[in-house]
């Protein structure tokens, strides 16, 4: 855009620039509050690990009493670096079969919308972490971010992310390309990642990816794609680690069209019976959170509109015939953590129930399972909370 620095414009600029100097203190910049992106996981002994960010570090805390008290935080990355921890972004933690601690995060680069996917692990319960590594071999300053991480049934660490290398190539060749691609990689030994594999071209560029362990011990992804003319429905794909290419198949059919960023990614949990329980957001007829059982290529089964205006960032978990749903419900007073539960495999759900409230900001809820009990991890401006669901496990 041309910038004609005419005198009137210059005077306007000076007037605007001087304006803040005349304003009272209440309009001064707000002190930086910590970002609320956090993740949690139990180890085999029931110790709770939480990762969040502070001052350029992913930091790890441990609780031996289900979140009542925590150890002093340990830095995962010794050298501070920028870390995405706002909105749909949060550092991730996953545990291996022998309580290896795996941590991933996305690191913003200098240019807008760019990032690198980072990873470190600890083999001694968090006392020491490996030096952070960059998961992808493509090191151009473009989008590689929105990391998602899971450990498969063989102990492999699997990481998926959003990647714009194909968009860049299409732009260079003057070819049309919508959105970004979804890539993944894995490390058989928990530290050496194979070159990235592409899962899907033209997927959504700004929603988190949901990963879940399949009934056969693999890892599957549920993520927002772009189908013809900016229809932002979701795809389901298994992340093959046997050299075969997994196929991303459309799995939701709301036909929500938006030339933009939905900023609300889905959730996925797969039962031992192979049923794919999913939650997702779309706004074709106003904001709506949905539950359904995915049948890739066809409309989801047992579809249920969970919540509408003010509902955001849902997560899902399953164990046996139990299915648990949680989301943030916003109103003028603040945030409520709302849950619905099913004891018949997701055919019927209880009415919504408020588990907790917060007047301050909150992060996205995350289900955790330990010994068939369900917990919700909820990071709030007044501290991390672990909420245990009432009732005996089935």
């Amino acid at each position: 855009m041309a910038h004609p620095w005419s005198l009137p414009r210059m005077l306007t600029v000076v007037a605007l620039a001087l304006l803040p100097l005349t304003l009272p203190a209440r309009n001064m910049p707000t002190p930086a509050a910590p970002a609320l992106g956090a993740s949690a996981a139990f180890d085999t002994l029931g110790r709770l690990y939480v990762v969040d960010t502070a001052d350029g570090h992913v930091r790890l805390r441990r609780s031996d009493d289900e979140g009542t008290t925590f150890s002093a935080p340990v830095n995962v990355n010794m050298t501070a670096e920028p870390i995405y921890a706002e909105g749909e972004n949060r550092p991730k933690i996953a545990l291996g079969p022998h309580d290896e601690l795996y941590v991933s995060w996305s690191q913003p680069r200098a240019k807008p919308w760019t990032g690198f996917v980072r990873f470190a692990r600890s083999l001694d319960g968090g006392d020491h972490f490996s030096a952070p590594l960059t998961v992808h071999r493509d090191r151009r300053e473009i989008t590689h971010r929105f990391d998602a991480m899971a450990v498969d049934g063989h102990g492999r660490v699997v990481i998926a992310w959003i990647d714009k290398r194909d968009l860049e190539a299409a732009n260079a060749a003057n070819k049309p390309y919508e959105g970004a691609a979804t890539y993944y990689s894995w490390a058989d030994d928990g530290i050496h990642f194979v070159p990235g594999r592409k899962l899907m071209d033209q997927s959504c560029e700004c929603c988190r990816i949901a990963l879940a362990r399949t009934a056969h011990g693999g890892v599957a992804a549920f993520f927002r794609g772009i189908w013809d003319d900016n229809r932002r429905d979701h795809a389901y794909a298994e992340l093959r680690t046997d050299g075969q290419t997994g196929r991303a198949t459309r799995a939701t059919f709301s036909d929500w069209r938006i030339a933009g960023c939905p900023h609300q990614g889905p959730g996925l949990a797969i039962g031992a019976d192979g049923v794919r329980h999913a939650v997702w957001y779309e706004a074709t007829h106003g904001p709506t959170l949905w539950y359904g059982q995915l049948d890739p290529g066809h409309a989801p089964r047992h579809k249920l509109a969970l919540a509408s205006a003010g509902a955001a960032h849902a997560d899902v978990a399953t164990d046996g015939t139990n299915v648990w749903l949680a989301w943030n419900q916003i109103d003028a007073a603040g945030y409520a953590l709302v849950v619905r539960t099913s004891t018949d495999g997701g055919v019927h759900f209880s009415a919504p129930r408020t588990l907790a409230r917060s007047h301050g900001d909150v992060g996205s809820p995350q289900w955790l399972l330990h010994r068939h009990r369900a917990y919700v991890a909820w990071n709030t401006a007044t501290g991390f909370r672990l909420l245990k669901l009432d009732g005996a496990p089935r």
């Binding site: 855009m1 910038h3 620095w5 414009r9 210059m10 306007t12 600029v13 000076v14 605007l16 620039a17 001087l18 304006l19 803040p20 309009n27 910049p29 707000t30 002190p31 930086a32 509050a33 910590p34 970002a35 609320l36 706002e86 909105g87 807008p112 919308w113 560029e205 700004c206 900016n230 069209r257 938006i258 030339a259 933009g260 960023c261 939905p262 900023h263 609300q264 957001y281 706004a283 106003g286 904001p287 205006a309 003010g310 955001a312 960032h313 943030n328 916003i330 109103d331 003028a332 603040g334 945030y335 900001d361 909150v362 992060g363 401006a381």
Partner: protein
């Protein structure tokens, strides 16, 4: 940039064209949503993470410049004001520094999103039009010229 302007920028510490970026807290949403005295107020909601948003703001800026007597334009970043420098730099780079600019005072955007428009789930960009008669209309996604014509 002219040399004298360059010198002026150094003479006044912290001076940059988008230095007028102001926080928007929950209590201030009502004022932002007051109907304008005449014509329409366009509120361009955007975020640092949204690659579609700058083009949408520029579309609205062109509309405002074509009808300065009838249209107000305010840009509102849903990112925390704690990211003031990044937000200001992005507004400058997009040529959007001359319009009033706000950024959320909250760390997470959902509550202020809801107060601005309960029928909005936070998808970006979001354009809100408030008319002098008090009526409102919100649309998500980068606006096409046809959508823009309908909004007016």
């Amino acid at each position: 940039m002219k040399p004298w302007l360059f010198l002026l920028a150094f003479a006044l510490p912290g001076l940059s064209p988008a230095a007028s970026l102001q926080p928007l807290n929950a209590d201030a949403v009502d004022v932002l949503l007051q109907p304008p005295a005449r014509g329409e107020r366009f509120i361009a909601l955007w975020s640092l993470d949204c690659a579609y948003c700058e083009a949408n703001m520029q579309t609205l800026a062109r509309l405002q410049q074509a009808h300065p007597e009838r249209i107000e334009l305010v840009t509102v970043a849903t990112d925390s004001i704690a990211q003031r420098d990044a937000i200001s730099a992005r507004l400058d780079a997009a040529g959007m520094e001359q319009w009033p600019a706000r950024a959320y005072a909250d760390t997470t955007p959902d509550r202020i999103n809801y107060l601005i428009d309960p029928q909005w789930g936070g998808e970006m960009p979001r354009t809100l039009v408030i008319r002098a008669d008090g009526s409102r209309r919100g649309l998500s996604g980068a606006l096409t010229p046809e959508q823009l014509a309908k909004l007016r």
